[in-house]
């Protein structure tokens, strides 16, 4: 099968699974997870080197979900890859489940607990620094939200990662232009965001965050050892894949009704048939 078709099929399946999981749980961050599903799918099925049967493999690539509220796509991908039984997705947010509403490192495949925004980049910077100090070749990826860019701690870490020349570190911004209240620029002006990162000493690559080839090329580009960390500014659509959720602020943690779920699943299946079982 064509690589891009495979990724698209996977992404569609992940979107369907996470929507079902959210409806089953009665809670979740719906639109943000749909926004970053394509980025996450490319990372976990194409880019990152990891061993499902050995989650703590010393040389694995690391991933930190800084926008921890989009945990649904994360758990769904980990389950699909076999880090834990897919049935467990039915326990999401339920009493005593380890599938907490933000990443929990008691779940196989999850490196660190996140959820408070602005933390992931500093953690990823620390891991990347550890890799450099130990002369390890693994890469560290962290996915941030765009609203999260208002946190000062992001920029403390951005400064440090450039200072330490961490070219083994890749930050991704899920630039969907919406946060819980409104459009990001109306809440707090982030633009010119690419220039901000460049001025902090980062290599910046801007892509369509739903274009698999562009994402693959950007991650490939980030692997050149030029002494600079890479920021992939991924332009995305919040709620991507479900027509009535796209670019709608109210779907930040909106819960679909049974009818809405059915419509969403229908739309997703018609976009691309789920083709593979890997």
């Amino acid at each position: 099968m064509n690589k891009l078709d495979f990724i698209e099929g996977k992404a569609t399946q992940i979107r369907r699974d996470l929507l079902k999981m959210i409806v089953n749980a009665g809670t979740g961050h719906t639109a943000g997870s749909l926004s970053n599903t394509d980025i996450m799918t490319v990372l976990f099925y194409e880019v990152m080197d990891m061993k499902v049967d050995d989650p703590d493999w010393e040389d694995r690539d690391r991933f930190i979900l800084s926008k921890g509220h989009s945990v649904e796509s994360y758990y769904t991908i980990l389950a699909d890859k076999g880090y834990f039984d897919k049935e467990e997705l039915n326990t999401f947010c339920q009493y005593k489940s380890r599938l907490i509403g933000h990443p929990n490192n008691k779940v196989p495949g999850v490196e660190m607990n996140t959820g408070a925004l602005g933390h992931g980049l500093a953690i990823a910077t620390g891991i990347a620094k550890a890799a450099k100090m130990s002369k390890k070749d693994y890469k560290v990826y962290t996915l941030m939200g765009d609203g999260e860019q208002a946190e000062g701690s992001v920029w403390e870490a951005a400064m440090a990662a450039a200072h330490f020349k961490l070219d083994n570190l890749v930050g991704i911004v899920d630039r969907n232009n919406l946060q819980i209240t409104d459009n990001t620029e109306r809440v707090m002006t982030l633009e010119p965001l690419a220039d901000k990162w460049k001025s902090f000493g980062w290599e910046v690559i801007e892509v369509d965050g739903h274009n698999y080839q562009e994402l693959i090329d950007a991650f490939s580009e980030s692997e050149k050892n030029n002494g600079k960390p890479t920021l992939i500014l991924a332009n995305t659509i919040k709620g991507k894949g479900v027509s009535f959720m796209e670019n709608k602020v109210e779907w930040h943690h909106g819960l679909p009704s049974a009818e809405e779920l059915a419509q969403a699943l229908e739309e997703l299946s018609s976009q691309k048939e789920v083709k593979q079982n890997v």
């Binding site: 010393e58 690391r62 490192n105 490196e111 660190m112 607990n113 996140t114 959820g115 408070a116 602005g118 933390h119 980049l121 500093a122 953690i123 990823a124 910077t125 620390g126 891991i127 990347a128 620094k129 550890a130 890799a131 100090m133 130990s134 390890k136 000062g152 701690s153 403390e156 870490a157 400064m159 440090a160 200072h163």
Partner: protein, 310 residues
Amino acid sequence: MSKTANKKVVCQKLIEFAEKDSDIVALTSDSRGSASMTEFGNQLPDQLVEVGIAEQNIVGMAAGLAAGGKKPFITSYAAFVTMRAIEQVKVDVAYSNVNVKIIGISGGVSYGPLGMSHHTLHDIAVMRAIPNIKMVMPADRYDTEKLMKELVDYQGPVYVRVGRNPVEDVHQSADYEFKIGKADQLREGSDLTIIATGELVSTALKAAELLKEDDLSCRVINMHTLKPLDEKAIIKAAEDTGKIVTVEEHSIYGGLGSAVSQVVAENHPVPVKVFGIPDEPAVTGYPEDILNEYGLTPAKIAEKAKEMFN
């Protein structure tokens, strides 16, 4: 009597252990000189990570370094690392439960004249309310040496507060047992127990000596570990002596006095008198002026303790 700053012992021991273990990493936030860590940087530059004036980042990066297999020791100003970065301590370190040691330097009123911004009178209250993280305040150089030795092999988050200035020994030698979570009884007594922590333990010992002149037999406990608290030692003190005084360089709210009172009230109610800093920005002055202002001297503690027998 010998006087040594505990922060100097921290650096000496870190150099000693880091020379043998390249995974030990010290982090500083433009705090190298203040933390007495300059020598560490000179001797082991590849094991020192300087993050600049960025406390949130020092804690986040330390959590990442630990996740990457390193053994990070943060040496940063107690006032800032326990407030500015408290969410990183809570989430990145404690919640993820990674092997990060945080040494808060120049704690309490060490920076006396610099004002409330630089005082650390809240850290016991804050740290004790966060699950997974332990907290220790060594009393003298012997405690600090033994603590550092234990920390090197101890898995998990620990916060340590030390002061800035030289402190008197409260132990005659290194010949005693030190264990995180185990109270250290320095003096036996039957009428009253003084439970003190950190660098005011020496003050508590002197107060006990003054009380002896009034024929009051005073037990003194060095409660170096604030969490987990040695509740058994507190209950036994309440049962054996019937009166308790607590002494700490911390707000009277949420510190050792509060913790001891809770244990006593729940298990064996007896009168407790709490000595600490009241709920106000501390007066201007050098540390000894501030401690004197708030009654944290041997004479004033002894005087107030005697009133418990009226």
